[in-house]
């Protein structure tokens, strides 16, 4: 099962498991993790599931899409080279990414 490590801006660490096919956003929201808002539920409408992906463990993550790329230009927290919208990070069974959530999403 995919496993995601979430580190908040304040340093809180949560490790959550999901199912293959879940996104990093879905696993966070379903477990009520603060730090990922995701008002639009993953339809690329709100840019409130912004995360910074740590180098380790994300070789196999889906590539940055065109609409996602545009939407990352409008996030509340600054965009960095490792910025992604977590709704687009759909995981397979062996993925164990580590993401940081920004200070603010809205």
């Amino acid at each position: 099962m995919p496993k995601v490590t979430y580190t908040s801006a304040g340093g809180d660490v949560s490790v959550l498991e999901g199912n293959a096919g879940d996104s990093v956003m879905e696993i966070a929201v379903r477990n009520g993790l603060p730090g990922i808002v995701a008002e639009c539920g993953g339809s690329l409408a709100c840019s409130t599931c912004h995360v910074y992906v740590r180098d380790d463990g994300h070789d196999s993550l889906p590539p940055l899409g065109e609409m996602e790329d545009e939407m990352l230009d409008g996030t509340v927290a600054e965009r960095r080279s490792n910025s992604r919208l977590s709704c687009q990070l759909v995981l397979s069974a062996n993925d164990h990414p580590h993401v940081e959530t920004p200070e603010s999403q809205v």
Partner: protein
């Protein structure tokens, strides 16, 4: 000491779940019970007309939270029970009774009852194959029937109708949209945006009829719908019909309780109903405009995820003893096939529209002004503009009407320049 019964949230909806989550985040320690009439744990509705109908996501993937979350946060989720009667004392406490006879005692009541589809009561309304789309069971039935249908008629050219029409098209169906008004999405967007959608959908092969006066649903003699008859004599053939002509807020319980109701259960800016204790959030509420300004309606009802979430948060603050006037920038989205519409603000009362970007390339924003101040935008495939304008409205900023059309310069940059020179 009397037993503590906590809050009863009627309606296992987006607003209901958000209210419960926000209460726990705010430190509310009393019992929380959510009662829902459906058999499914609370789930997202927007994908029902889009990804779900197209078979791209499963029902399980739409659930808001895991059962584990509800357990851990002591949120008692009661499904498959429809509250039909509520007795309430002047202090706000009382007992709700479900149609099964089960009783729920509460100290505080919340109504997040949502809305039901408006029905088209014409001849043939009860024919098999005349469908409505509001909940997961509706979507499941539509998906199943769509598999065997060749031709689909959608009655109503609003968001739900156009989203479902685009989904049916993707599944290879022949789709006709019948809209009674002279333009599409008339309740939600400006005339220019309506015009764009008409052209864009027709260019994609969707058969759209405006000013369509529907007389009756025609049956095949065996109790199943076979077409829709119009006043001009035309009969549009249909294996299934989806009626998407808006929703009616579920106010019955509130009315029975004697709460003031207009176009929804009336609340003040603290999400309180007229009894001063019951909180209300989401599609069922008629609320003071959360972004008040001259030329905009003073009270309204908002059918959106955004309002369900934000108003529920406001209600949670009220329940935990805070009093924060509800203010936010209303926003909406609609994905219709490959067309993404995002709207920020309310355009009512605008006196000028500026086009930013290219309508021909289907990548643009209509920016609405009143007295040279931005009040709203309809953004097509332009998420960056949408996010910038939503942020600008939230901060009370502006972009000059003579600059906004310069699509080569990001709005964020224009705003930064203006802030540094002012």
């Amino acid at each position: 000491m009397p037993e503590n019964h906590g809050i009863l949230i009627v309606g296992a909806s987006q607003a209901g779940v958000q209210l419960a989550s926000s209460l726990r985040e705010l430190g509310y320690a009393d019992p929380i019970t959510i009662v829902g009439a459906e058999t499914h744990a609370p789930y997202q509705r927007p994908p029902l007309s889009k990804a779900y109908l197209q078979g791209l996501v499963t029902a399980e993937a739409l659930a808001f939270r895991t059962q584990d979350y509800y357990d851990k946060h002591a949120i008692d989720m009661v499904l498959n029970e429809r509250i039909s009667d509520i007795d309430k004392a002047p202090d706000g406490s009382g007992t709700a009774t479900a149609t099964s006879g089960r009783k729920f005692v509460f100290d505080r009541l919340a109504l997040t009852t949502g809305a039901r589809p408006r029905r088209l009561e014409i001849e043939g309304a009860d024919l098999d194959g005349v469908l409505y789309l509001r909940n997961a069971d509706d979507a499941e039935e539509m998906k199943a029937r769509m598999a065997d249908a060749g031709s689909v008629v959608v009655v109503g050219g609003g968001f739900i109708g156009l989203e479902a029409a685009a989904s049916a098209q993707k599944l290879g169906k022949s789709v006709a949209v019948l809209e009674a008004a002279p333009r599409l999405v008339g309740r939600a967007v400006g005339e220019e945006t309506s015009e764009f959608f008409l052209k864009a959908h027709r260019a994609r092969g969707l058969d759209v009829s405006l000013n369509a006066k529907i007389l009756r649903f025609v049956g095949d003699g065996g109790g199943h719908v076979s077409g829709v008859e119009l006043a001009d004599g035309r009969v549009v053939p249909a294996d299934i019909v989806l009626v998407g002509i808006g929703v009616v807020p579920r106010t019955e319980l509130a009315e029975a309780l004697g709460l003031a109701c207009g176009n929804g259960i009336m609340v003040d800016e603290f999400s309180l109903a007229s009894d001063g204790t019951t909180v209300v959030a989401g599609d069922c509420a008629e609320l003071p405009n959360p972004m008040p300004r001259e030329g905009a309606p003073q009270r309204l009802r908002l059918e959106s995820v955004n309002n369900a979430v934000e108003q529920a948060r406001n209600a949670a603050t009220t329940v935990t003893g805070g009093r924060v006037p509800y203010r936010m920038v209303p926003w909406f989205w609609s994905n219709q096939g490959d067309i993404k519409l995002q709207m920020a603000g309310l355009s009512a009362g605008y006196d000028q529209i500026v086009t930013r970007g290219s309508v021909e390339d289907e990548k643009f924003s209509f920016v609405y002004y009143r007295d040279e101040q931005v009040i709203a935008a309809d953004c097509i495939n332009s998420p960056v503009d949408f996010l910038a304008i939503k942020a600008l409205l939230a901060q009370g900023l502006n972009v000059p009407v003579d600059r906004v059309g310069d699509a080569g310069t990001p709005l964020k940059k224009m705003m930064a320049e203006l802030l540094s020179t002012s």
